[in-house]
């Protein structure tokens, strides 16, 4: 693929990943087993899907803190409808629609009222979380139809269905970002909003799309997660908020906007997944796990940034 050029800059991330795998593989028996690797990818798929939307949001200098609540709420809507006997596609559609609507609401607040994304998304997340609890009086639900659970837990050709869905999301988002007008506008808006406006491009469209899409991704992640667990838990979204943002940043998405690639956010998600898996497999005490997680996140991003700076210095003309 032409869009996936491997520049020097990206080489480092790949090198780190490879090195990580070799080291971990030799340290941990069973780490490099296909089963475990697929396991990791499946676990990371939730983070990766959320990161698809999050990448866009961060690129336009926003942030989406609604993951916690929206992820749970949409899954709850979808789950309750499933239990009511709705056909799977319809129930899922309802869940996705709710997520998209909540995202659009964020877009509306940001665009029309100029409310900081931080606040509106945090609030929408809180409201979603509250509703998720309220819908079923704080209890989890489960026992979904088999095809639905298959989507979360089943495999096709030995690969978890979740991974296909994740790849679909990453590829579609990536194409959208690199090959369509909207993608260019999203980057442009992260670079210089004034120009975008002067060019007559509607920032409303971009805001609505980006936040709406993020809501859509979050909803999809929530639905997929409840397929994986065969359960909807009203607070199941909690671990994914910071993980998704961290995945983006580890993958080189700049918090200052205008920069980032979905492929690398995926790698970021995988790095998080690998690291959690490895620490569990190594049997490290939870207290020390926290310390490792912290150090690894910082070190990876530091290396990435160091590399970037070097490439910039070397590109100086003369």
């Amino acid at each position: 693929m032409k869009g996936l050029k491997i520049s020097k800059k990206n080489l480092l991330i790949i090198a780190i990943v490879v090195a990580l795998f070799i080291i971990l593989g030799s340290l941990i028996p069973g780490f490099l087993s296909i089963k475990n690797l697929l396991n990791i990818v499946r676990q990371s798929s939730i983070i990766a899907i959320v990161a698809c939307g999050m990448t866009m949001v961060i690129i336009i200098k926003g942030i989406d803190l609604s993951v916690t609540g929206v992820l749970s709420f949409c899954a709850m809507v979808n789950g309750l409808l499933l239990l009511k006997g709705w056909p799977i596609p319809l129930a899922m559609l309802a869940g996705l629609a709710v997520g998209t609507l909540m995202g659009l609401f964020n877009g509306l607040m940001v665009e029309k009222l100029g409310i900081p994304a931080f606040i509106t998304t945090l609030v929408v997340g809180n409201v979603g979380g509250g509703l998720a609890l309220l819908l079923n009086a704080g209890k989890s639900i489960g026992g979904f139809p088999a095809p639905y659970v298959f989507m979360g837990n089943g495999t096709i050709l030995g690969v978890p269905v979740s991974n296909y869905i994740m790849i679909l999301f990453v590829v579609v988002t990536s194409i959208l970002m690199s090959k369509t007008r909207l993608g260019v506008y999203i980057y442009a808006m992260g670079g210089n909003e004034t120009v975008v406006k002067q060019q007559g491009i509607s920032t409303a469209t971009i805001n609505f799309f980006v936040y709406g899409f993020s809501g859509f991704c979050i909803a999809m992640a929530g639905i997929l997660l409840s397929g994986q667990l065969d359960t909807v838990h009203p607070t199941q979204g909690e671990p994914y908020q910071l993980d998704a943002i961290a995945a983006c940043v580890i993958g080189g998405v700049s918090m200052l906007g205008g920069e980032g690639k979905v492929y690398f956010a995926l790698i970021g998600a995988l790095i998080i997944g690998v690291q959690r898996n490895a620490l569990n497999l190594l049997g490290i005490h939870p207290f020390y796990q926290n310390i490792f997680v912290g150090i690894i996140i910082i070190v990876i991003v530091a290396l990435n940034i160091h590399q970037k700076r070097r490439t910039i210095e070397h590109s100086k003309i003369f």
Binding site: S140, H233, Q236
Partner: protein, 287 residues
């Protein structure tokens, strides 16, 4: 499996930080496992409500190929798929503290635990008795979405049902002292006439006591759940009326005993699916 090294047993639970009771279970499982010559791994989800984290962790354990798993499920449904995977992989599982949905008894050897609803129920009954069947009480709940906390509060409400005791305030303390303190303070502003208080866990008692103390309400009868060492002190000092003691040691020893038997290939068909580790209400008189 290398016989010389002994089997590997893992314990997965929500957290052991600032939860004396969870820590006690973990300690007892670890001690029992070591005593049985097993290699022990502890995994915690960290957050109280991160159910999917727990599921991933158990998946990792299965992938790693541990020989037995002790599980304190954070949600009664969410762990079912992963327990199915454990079963496929032939890894025996014992549940402690919390059980899973009815109808999945084939997925685990046995569940050893306290009946949370019952603990709350006894606390309710006790409080009703102490207050003479009437009075206003406050409830400080756990974090929203925690089924153990919900069951205890539900039990408590069932325990006081039919008496003239009124729940005038019920707010979440998030298993945290500072939050519990703040909600207690605020609830006291709305209801100064309080005779009793129920909290879903000992872990919030410090904050609650301080709030009551600051408001000059020293005669409020407090009932709690867990029966940790700290609370025993408080009961002795008369600050807390009683706590529903659970028996983490029983859970740990029993769980490892069962697992070791299963690992050694014993016939497990005679093991009951529920083993009550017991609850007693500790009060100043019982200490």
């Amino acid at each position: 499996k290398a016989e010389s090294k002994g089997p590997e047993i893992a314990f997965s639970l929500k957290t052991i930080t600032n939860d004396a009771f969870q820590k006690a279970i973990a300690d007892s499982v670890e001690a029992a496992a070591k005593a049985a010559g097993a290699k022990f791994t502890l995994v915690t989800a960290g957050q109280q409500t991160a159910v999917s984290t727990q599921v991933s962790q158990v998946e990792d354990l299965i992938a790693k190929g541990v020989d037995g798993i002790v599980l304190s499920p954070m949600d009664s449904k969410a762990v079912i798929p992963v327990l199915k995977k454990a079963k496929e992989a032939g890894i025996p599982v014992v549940l402690v503290d919390q059980t899973i949905e009815d109808g999945n008894e084939d997925l685990y050897l046995s569940y050893i635990g306290t009946d949370n609803f019952n603990a709350g129920f006894v606390a309710g009954e006790t409080l009703a008795e102490v207050l003479g069947g009437k009075g206003n009480v406050l409830i400080v709940r756990g974090a929203n979405g925690s089924s153990a906390g919900d069951q205890r509060v539900d039990g408590f409400k069932a325990g006081i049902a039919g008496t003239a005791i009124k729940v005038v305030g019920e707010q979440p303390g998030n298993w945290a002292n500072d939050v519990a303190m703040q909600v207690t303070e605020n609830m006291l502003q709305a209801n100064s006439n309080i005779q009793g208080l129920f909290t879903a866990s000992d872990v919030m008692l410090n904050g609650i006591l301080t709030a009551l103390d600051n408001a000059g309400k020293t005669s409020v009868k407090i009932l709690s759940v867990d029966g940790s060492d700290d609370v025993k002190e408080m009961i002795k000092d008369g600050e807390v009326y009683g706590s529903m003691a659970q028996f983490p040691d029983v859970m740990g020893t029993k769980a490892i005993e069962l697992l070791m038997r299963a690992i050694n290939g014993d016939n497990m068909s005679d093991v009951p699916k529920y083993i009550d580790s017991g609850t007693t209400c500790i009060t100043a008189t019982s200490l």
